[in-house]
Amino acid sequence: MSLKQTPLNAAHRAAGARMVDFGGWDMPVNYGSQIDEHHAVRREAGMFDVSHMRALDLTGAGARDFLRYALANNVDKLKDAGKALYSCMLREDGGVLDDLIVYFLREDFFRIVVNAATTDKDIAWLRELLAKHAPQLTLTPRHELAMVAVQGPNARAKFWQAVPGSEAATSALKPFQGRQAGDLFVARTGYTGEDGFEVLVPAERAESLWKGLVAAGVQPCGLGARDTLRLEAGMNLYGQDMDERVTPLVSGLGWTVDMASPRDFVGKAALAAHAPQSALVGLLLLEGGGVLRAHQSVHTPRGDGETTSGTFSPTIGKSIALARVPAGVAPGDTIEVSVRGKHLPAKVLKPPFVRNGKILVNGE
């Protein structure tokens, strides 16, 4: 099967990007130094082609009622137009189908942005739920939209410089809020732990937007830097830190599940039935001796666990990981990770590791 390409594929290749197969998409992993790209986002501004992710528009009367049932987080938290909410979408058994962002645009119009590899599965799942519970609603995948994430302390200023007239429409956006600005949908969201925008753009306009941002001094960044940035920010990667086999309660996402309200939602009964036996925690490697990676075994007095993501943190200068460990392992504990046959000490902590350019962990 040939790889799918985003509308920016030619621009990446012209810029000398190293391309990889990412969930069936031909995507840039870096344009040179992954660490330089990482620092550009933490210190200045960088951008990512995230056109492989998909916007799904849900329209019709009763959209909120449907989402109140379909999502583990509660869309009743969305009161102001444009406001966004992070949520998991669960199976009946509580397994995570996907994590997503849902925007409240009007009572009859919500926009959901889902992961690339799960897009087809999510559409099929939602259409099945809709047929049963809300057949009057329409779900429209926006395949004609590309998506660019501009991230970093100066990302918004550079975006305004690159897109004349956009500042007036978007300067008042609060974190986790989006709005239509001309033919762009601009949201103050991201996956890096920095300020910035995620921008939905008509596919045919994507390359001119990208080039305008390059001219404004925004550093193109690949999936490599995206991974180290999101891990420093303590954000899960679907398919790696969680999937259908685990619940959000053992994936560090209990805060996104609204169990308190009386509403029912898909997966609620299953989550209520079992106390979590494990937890997803952050790890900081205390000494050198190697680099934390996914699928290294973790040894604690309460039993063994496993890293789900790991990397060298360019901001901290030490190795960090997310790991699923037995319940009861707590921040401040020191545990051991098997790294290429050696048992290395690591400190358990609560993510994030880095936010808004600042190191939040004690790197003793």
Binding site: S33, Q34, G224, G289, G290, V291
Partner: protein, 125 residues
């Protein structure tokens, strides 16, 4: 891709330089560092260790992946470059300056069987 003419190469992407005192300096090639990406951790064999040809004896880890470095020839480790372990990024800057370790070869003629620059260029083409 930078492949200096005066060096010898192994198909596992190490370079070798014969020194005037009979020892051989070993590193990884520009091609190898480029494929690995930004290096963040390097572990070298202890001085005094005796290596067999083809033995995994060092580790280079980048943000992306970990990779073994093999002893291309048999011998005793007589030096390890601790500058490169404290600053792994110098290997990305110049893979032929940032050597890894130096061997006293068991067979003084061991380099004769290694690839020359032209053969290595062909291998990575």
């Amino acid at each position: 891709m930078n492949v200096p003419k005066e060096l010898k190469y192994a198909d596992s992407h190490e370079w070798m330089r014969a020194e005037s005192d009979g020892t051989v300096t070993i590193g990884i090639t520009d091609h190898a560092q480029e494929a690995l990406g930004d290096l963040v951790f390097i572990e070298l064999p202890a001085v005094g260790r005796t290596l067999k040809a083809g033995e995994a004896c060092a580790v280079v880890e980048s943000v992306k992946a970990a990779s073994d470095v093999y002893a291309p020839i048999a011998g005793e480790v007589v030096a390890a470059n601790t500058e490169v372990t404290t600053a792994p990024e110098t290997l990305n800057a110049d893979a032929y300056v940032a050597w890894l370790f130096r061997i006293k070869p068991a067979d003084s003629n061991a380099l004769a069987g290694m690839l020359d620059a032209a053969a290595y260029e062909k291998l990575i083409a």
